[in-house]
């Protein structure tokens, strides 16, 4: 087990290294000179040149990269160009929005998708199954930002139950804070919920076809016990894999929904930074999000190593 975890951790570091190089190169070959975008249309060339120098953009890319990654390893992600504050602090200040939003969306997704998937599987090829699958098809097809807008139109504009967006911080109290994240979380989790419900359904159908389930049934084990004791645990392996990947995707998906609901989260930070060519912030946020996603994936690997000991030796 220890060797298994170590191997996964090494893969994690390699992935992060690769991602960091990729991000660094990509943001540097993006068209649009950051110095010019920052200075605006009336800036003099000398002023832009000075800024370019101050930002270190006049040096070769590999040199810039080594300096950046070296400092990043000590926890220093540089300073934001547009806000003039440390990137690390900026990321930390946005986490109290994005993290709960992602977790809430993920929680809602899992809480709704797994029971619904089980429900559909146990009513295989009956109306309950068809209805669930049609609904989830809609969930897959509807883009999150559009769902978000529809939710706002219904629950904020028409009914007035929720505010149309924004986040007033945790200081306003736990319940109001959670409430202001509820609509965006639903919109964010919708797509992943639909995918997970479908995955759960097919995973269970798959397991129900296995010999040991048939054996259990033949032995006269009650249907409920067959489902919960024998099927669900084994079906959870593919479901867990998908859910793990999805948690990462939720974090990435928050970029658009944070704009729709004007939430001051990590996604908004990244989007604004890209528009303003605030390179240190773009790099910092991408590296951070990539670390979270890769870590979740490793955690999932380890988790199903625990669920199914055979996986460890493969």
């Amino acid at each position: 087990m220890r060797r298994f975890i170590l191997r996964r951790a090494a893969a994690l570091l390699a992935t992060l290294l690769f991602v960091s190089i990729l991000v660094f190169v990509v943001v540097r070959i993006l068209p649009g000179d950051p110095a010019l975008l920052i200075m605006g249309t009336e800036a003099s060339p000398e002023a832009a040149g000075r800024l370019r120098e101050a930002m270190g953009l006049d040096r070769p890319i590999p040199v810039q990269y080594l300096e950046w990654i070296g400092r990043a390893l000590t926890g220093d992600l540089g300073r934001s160009i547009q806000y003039d504050v440390p990137v690390g602090a900026l990321i930390l200040s946005r986490l109290p929005v994005t993290l709960p939003l992602t977790l809430m969306a993920g929680g809602l997704m899992i809480l709704a998708a797994i029971p619904l998937g089980v429900f559909a599987a146990t009513r295989h090829r009956r109306w309950g199954d068809y209805l669930t699958m049609t609904l989830s098809q809609v969930g897959v097809a509807v883009p999150g930002f559009w769902a978000g807008l529809l939710l706002v139109l219904l629950f904020s504009v028409r009914l007035g139950w929720f505010q149309s967006g924004g986040f007033d911080g945790w200081a306003q109290g736990l319940l109001p804070a959670l409430k202001s994240l509820l609509l965006p979380a639903v919109a964010l989790g919708l797509f992943q919920f639909a995918v997970l419900a479908r995955t759960t359904r097919s995973a269970i159908l798959e397991v129900l076809r296995e010999e040991y389930v048939k054996t259990a049934r033949a032995k006269g084990v009650a249907e409920r016990a067959v489902l919960f004791r024998h099927t669900l645990r084994n079906a959870m392996i593919p479901v867990l894999t998908v859910a793990g990947v999805q948690l990462g995707q939720l974090m990435a998906g928050s970029i658009i929904l944070e704009s729709v609901f004007y939430l001051p989260g990590l996604g908004r930070l990244a989007l604004g930074a890209i528009t303003a060519r605030d390179l240190p912030v773009v790099q910092g946020v991408v590296l951070f999000v990539a670390s979270v996603i890769v870590t979740i994936n490793v955690a999932v690997d380890v988790l199903y190593g625990l669920l199914d000991p055979r996986i460890r030796y493969e």
Binding site: L30, P31, G32, D33, L36, L37, I38, M39, G40, T41, E42, A43, S44, P45, A47, A48, R50, L51, Q82, Y83, D84, L90, S93, R94, L149, V152, L153, S156, V157, L159, G160, W161, F162, Q163, S164, G165, G166, F167, G169, L175, P176, K179, L182, S259, V260, F261, Y262, P264, G265, R268, L269, L271, G272, A276, R277
Partner: protein, 504 residues
Amino acid sequence: MSLWRVMLALALALAALVAGSPAAQAQQQAGTLVVQAAAEPPGLDMTASPATAIQNTIHYNVQESLVKLDKHGKLVPWLAERWYTTDNLNYTFFLKKGVRFHNGREMRAEDVKFVLERAMNPETKHPHRPRYLGITNIIVKDTHTVTLTLKAIDSNFLLTMARPGSVIYPREAVDTLKTAPIGTGPFTVAEWKRGDRLVLARNKDYWIKGLPRLDKVTFRFIPDPNSALAALRAGDIDVSPFGIGPENAPDLKKDPRFQVITGDTTNDVILAMNNAKAPFSDKRVRLAITHAINKDEVLKGAVFGYGKVLGSNVDPLNPYYVDLSKEKSHDPARAKKLLAEAGFPNGFDAVLKVAPQYYYTVRTGEVIVSQLAKVGIRVKMEQIEWGQWLGRVYCLPPCTSPEYDLTIIGHGEPWDINNYANPKYYFRWDNAEFQKLFKESEATLEDKKRRELYVKMQKMLAEEAPVVWLYMYPRLVAAKKGLTGLWKDLPTTALDLSEVAWQK
């Protein structure tokens, strides 16, 4: 049965909990205002960044200058109660007495000297430093009098003194301008939550008695126009002051809860042509394109008929504006004739580059492409990213020659006729006669003479057609009913909230 009842009770309790608070929030507290801002300011210092998002929120509200561009686009005395000059080279400003900065200290002539010297200092990276380099000497006469000496006569000098980069702030607060700017304005900066909101609070000691009328102003940063509209309809914001989409105006006008204010801006939307490149270097081709375009149709298609058709460069808010919109009217037959004369009886192919960052450019482009096709000019529209537009079309250094045939963009700057006197500007229009006229206008201070020159320049531009002036982008403000005191027109980038109030 009892289980159902418990669940129902729980559901109702939850619904009450969830639905309870917004009703209370929706009730308008007296004296507070929530304003939508599409872009977040990248800092709060107008003397360090030219971003209009800073000017939108801070200028006039938090920081003020000696001279102000008022709601009619006129220069009026502000922190300076008057000034005089005998030779148009030495300006003596008499400052208002008893004006206090937000830190309680009185504003003095020393502050003016400090602020202007800092603007000229290359170390401070003032974004508009060149505008101040004509000042050769600053002498503090007494606590409330300061004399500035210019190198040469500059008819735009007072305008420069009214610009966002000329705001007066106290020397002792210079280090915190970026995050907590201090000035003399009707509001103070109370809180800035990056990515979320900027809160301004009433300056109790404002030098104009009775102002401001509001106790608190919250700018919420809502980038998505659909979200902004929903927020307005849901009652989460009170006013969307920087332009709602023209397509939304008719609906909002019908809604009894809202008012839509339409006004003028200094934003001239143009179809620019690369005058250095054939066939646009030929005046006949440029005129043919002008005649081929039906501007009324463009106005309808692009901005739902709001705004005004233009015929030359000066915007309707400028005191020297002359209406030349009927000058080179829609005349496809004439356009074809001109094209034939220029050697293109069968028209030609061209590429129109637009940046979808400003969505009106795409909508305008679609109309124009179809209109030009009718006289045989086959235009392909290409959408490019804003950074590329700035680098290639607008040709910011290191670019040396602009890469485009046609492009559409709004020029928002007031008093920007100087661009046509600059042969290096991305139009690449080089006309010695115009350059002479402009130079003369800069050195002319007498209003009547100056107006004559401006009229002459506008007519000449209409005649030479270096670009096609399409329309003035409209100012469209949506606000809750009962909100008063918003400026109708927008002659400057500032959103002056000092007189805004809720009707009782």
